[in-house]
Amino acid sequence: MPAKKLVKQVYGKGDYMNTNKLKKIGSADLIIYFILLLISFIMLYPVLYMFSVSLSDINAVVRNEVKFYPVGFSLEAYRMFLKDARILKSYYNTIVYSILGTFFSLSFTSLMAYPLSIRSFCMKKFNTVFLTITMFIGGGLIPYYMTIRNLGMVDTIWVIVIPGSVGAWNVIIYKTFFLGIPDSLRESAYIDGANDILILFRIILPVSKALLATMGLFSIVGIWNDFFTALIFINTNSKQPLQILLRSILILNTFSNTELDKINKAKEVNTQTVKAAAIVVAVLPLMIIYPFLQKYFAKGILIGSIKG
């Protein structure tokens, strides 16, 4: 077999067993492409459908005319959805919880992980064992619930942003990343008279931006999407995050005491478009940043796996 052809086969597009130059893509390729296109379509369709329903005229939706694109453009659903004070409040809460929780997670985890990356640290062994035990043994849901109650954290913002901020798994990831930073960087700062706190914030963290970005994004998405913590610990309506409100609208069908509730009860309008608008509003921030972030997400899962 000539070398040129071999190279083409290994590195080129598709399978070159067929010598016909026009047929660059073989039938096997076509089948694979078709399957993958179908999978992509299935993934994309729900988002597309909800987006179209939320923008459509209510009568078109009731007649099931909406399939791929909005029919009879209308912004009524969004207008109704966004004028509701409680919805806006819960949206605001979610943003606050995500940002604060991520801030705590990044700072406490780096503070915990940095000393572990120093060989001579006198508590290194103790801290490592103390954390590792929690990876294998845990109290379970009910004792955790009672602990939070006994600490008086029920119905406060702290129950959402503090308990999850330090986890053994994350500390290991941070520590491994810090270990990859050359020692000479730290040593030169010691010689210049810097203490460990200064070194962490002025030298280690600035060169760990890739790590902080990845872990920060995971944390934001995690808190943004979490409904269970709020479900069991938050009772006051004004402190509920968006996911809880969405749960009542989408899953329980109650519209729990929002202004929409009256509309729903009066059956003045069909709530289908409003539900679709709720879904779109909740995923929109993610959809906007998603294309920029997805390479970080992919990287993040690999950081976690290689170290494990």
Partner: protein, 321 residues
């Protein structure tokens, strides 16, 4: 004084320091900032990880939150016995196991197949596009995702039922029928997880040495043979590690998702141990019963991970520890 890392090591290991106590004080003095840094993390771990472990003692008492563990009546193993007498426990164990087995059979291989398919695609932009679209559902919250499904599958207004009725098939109340629950659970799990799960296999595939493919092509291996004899053995170590996790997690269904999907009509197939613990312990305030059930569940899960790790070590020589 200049405090070099190299000096630090010397301080703690040379024989110069005879007095052990003196060395300890010196080490604490030297590491004071590092110790200070660890405090928030240690405190949070203690409060939210260790206190619940201590709180497990409640399984031996008729726990009353107002009185605490030591003020409540001590009942020994009463709650463990009552678990075995509970009328719903068989149903929960059966559902938990069945959902676990089904997701092992269906959800576990799905990302492997997707990764093998994607690996065959040589058009970069197409590969990127498919990857981007398949990760997407992973980042959508369970509430919204189940909300999507409920909307689309709704018997009165949903698109799927509309299409079914146009084809002359009777409408199906998917979320209200117990025989549909497992299909919905596994199907939605695959949709949400397949793209993200494929990332790790794609990374393993890209690590396979190109020269192996070259040699195979020279030997006349066709594409199918290359997949069977190069790609699949190449990702086997990754597969077996993840299989250990999957086997160990067979009891750990996604009970948060089930909480959003089930209703009293579908309890027969949908109620699992996780949701039962939630209902008994938090909704019905039967704290000790819920905690006891949770403890038994985690003991069995722990045994499962040890056993599957041991089995994997024997069979394929890969293990977690």
């Amino acid at each position: 004084m200049i405090n070099l890392p190299s000096e630090r090591i010397e301080l703690s290991y040379t024989k110069k320091i005879v007095n052990y106590k003196y060395a300890a004080i010196k080490a604490i003095k030297r590491d004071k900032y590092l110790i200070l840094m660890s405090i928030p993390g240690l405190l949070i771990t203690f409060l939210f990880k260790y206190l619940p472990i201590y709180g497990l003692l409640m399984v031996f008492t008729r726990y009353n939150p107002a009185k605490g563990i030591w003020g409540s009546e001590w009942v020994g193993f009463y709650y463990f016995e009552s678990i075995f007498k509970d009328p719903y426990i068989i149903r929960c164990v059966k559902n938990t196991l069945l959902l676990g087995i089904y997701s092992l059979v269906w959800s576990f291989p799905a990302p492997i197949v997707l990764a093998l398919l994607l690996n065959e695609v040589k058009t970069i932009w197409f590969k990127k596009m498919v990857q981007t679209l398949t990760y997407l559902p992973h980042f959508i919250s369970a509430v919204i995702f189940i909300g999507f499904l409920r909307q689309i599958l709704s018997p009165s207004t949903g698109l799927i039922n509309f299409l079914l009725s146009q084809m002359g098939i009777d409408k199906i109340n998917f979320f209200g029928r117990q025989e549909w629950f497992r299909t919905l659970y596994i199907g939605s799990g695959i949709l949400q997880g397949v793209g993200f799960g494929a990332i790790i296999y794609l990374a393993a595939l890209s690590n396979i040495d190109v020269s192996i493919y070259e040699a195979a092509i020279i030997d006349g291996a066709n594409r199918w043979q290359r997949i069977i004899y190069i790609n699949i053995p190449g990702i086997m170590p990754t597969v077996s590690i993840l299989l250990i996790f999957a086997l160990a997690g067979i009891l750990g269904n996604d009970s948060l998702k089930i909480l959003l999907m089930y209703s009293p009509q579908t309890y027969e197939t949908a109620d699992v141990l996780g949701t039962y613990i939630y209902r008994m312990g938090i909704e019905n305030n039967n704290f000790s019963f819920g905690a006891a059930l949770g403890l038994m569940l985690s003991i069995v899960s722990f045994i499962l991970i040890v056993v599957s790790n041991y089995a994997s070590k024997k069979i394929s020589e890969t293990s977690l520890w």
